[in-house]
Symmetry: C2
Subunit: 201 residues, 2 copies
């Protein structure tokens, strides 16, 4: 089974700004609504980006960081079940990395959020077990992706590069030791360039 | 006339490592010969990358930083006429940014290196005058490119992205305020992805 990672970044490599809040989940570095600009391609949907949507949907288990899951920091002091409404698009187990334990959160449509407090390898082991022969998707943010890249646990990196720079924020590859990659393909549309790489060992 | 910039970078945005020397012009961050790996596409030549070579050759005046010109730092304490032998590939005026004055250096084939000590705008003015209706190419390294990007003086950015990361060095966009770009095209080959952007004002 393949471990893939999809991440949308600015041309200068940022996946999010600093100072994320519930009102500004992507932080305040790019001004109001810059997250929408970053993810414009996503809003254009499957029609415009068929390969990319197909590939993202094939994973059987997902891993994400707690900041991607939501804006709650520190102890879980209020109900929060993700940004995606009652029926999240995952339809399978999602392992959320956090230092703050919490009971699993089942949702409609087969998604369950599991909160993993014993680190990235433990989360990967649980995802492998859940995925069986299926794929695993490391889903972001960059803080999480960088840890998995540094640990050599990602097989395929799919970057979606938006045509602007941010200048500050949480940067993909920050602190990750040098990687060798094999280029698989590149395709540009007005809103994004899709780049696909195999990570070599 | 259009001001273009061609720069080859790693997937994490580095154009050079730290601690550049005559033996290791790209610095020592990527180990021996990593600069060759970065510029592998360039070695493959016009046959494999016709559009990119054609575009680079059309400029009528060039601007580069002193570190791209050579390994001499501080006062010009020894003869140095560039990395490119007696007949450099520029065939026109090349304006080299430096804090250390030096007489112009004419070379075979129409290249003359001019040393500009009064800053990026002065170098651009001289390049404009020399180029007439022709194009101007800001040729690197990243320290120079970043200054021109920050000053809003580049019209078209052509990045050649090599399929590996470096993790440290001189990074494109470092310290450059946010830019809006219009994506022109993307093309991948096994050794490099060519990305082309118009810089919007
Ligand atoms: N551009 C994209 O494609 C994309 C994709 C996803 C998300 N995003 C955006 O990126 C931002 C979130 O990314 P991010 O990089 O800030 O954070 P993130 O990776 O989503 O989450 C980081 C948090 O997860 C927990 N965590 C991470 N690794 C851990 C470990 N090994 N052990 C225990 N807990 C761990 C920690 O939370 P605690 O210590 O608080 O528990 C940490 O602060 C959001 O703005 C989101 O909207 C963008
Ligand atoms: N990846 C690529 O496509 C590519 C392209 C070109 C070069 N490179 C590599 O990149 C490295 C050089 O890049 P770099 O970013 O280190 O340096 P650079 O931009 O080539 O040169 C920087 C130097 O130019 C002078 N300079 C720059 N701006 C100036 C200004 N406004 N006023 C006066 N002087 C100014 C300064 O030299 P002084 O103060 O010493 O005079 C400064 O240290 C080399 O390793 C080269 O091989 C890579």
């Amino acid at each position: 089974m393949t471990v893939t990672c999809d991440l949308t970044i600015t041309l200068d490599g940022y996946a999010a700004g600093h100072r994320q809040t519930e009102q500004r989940p992507f932080g305040d570095d790019g001004g109001d609504g810059w997250g929408d600009r970053l993810h414009a391609w996503y809003g254009e949907g499957r029609e415009e980006h068929p390969d990319e949507f197909d590939r993202m949907l094939t994973a059987k288990a997902f891993i994400m960081g707690r900041n991607m899951f939501g804006p709650v920091r520190g102890p879980w002091d209020r109900p929060w079940t993700g940004w995606w409404g009652d029926e999240p698009p995952y339809h399978g187990p999602v392992f959320v990395l956090t230092h703050h334990p919490r009971e699993p959160q089942p949702m409609a449509g087969g998604t369950t959020f599991h909160f993993v407090t014993d680190g990235i390898e433990a989360a990967m082991d649980r995802a492998r077990e859940a995925a069986g022969d299926g794929g695993i998707s490391v889903h972001g943010g960059a803080t999480t992706v960088n840890q998995y890249l540094a640990a050599g646990l990602i097989d395929e990196l799919r970057l979606h590069v938006a045509p602007f720079t941010l200048g500050a924020g949480v940067r993909l590859f920050d602190g990750v030791p040098p990687l060798n990659l094999e280029q698989l393909d590149a395709r540009s549309t007005p809103s994004v360039t899709h780049l696909r790489y195999r990570v070599l060992r």
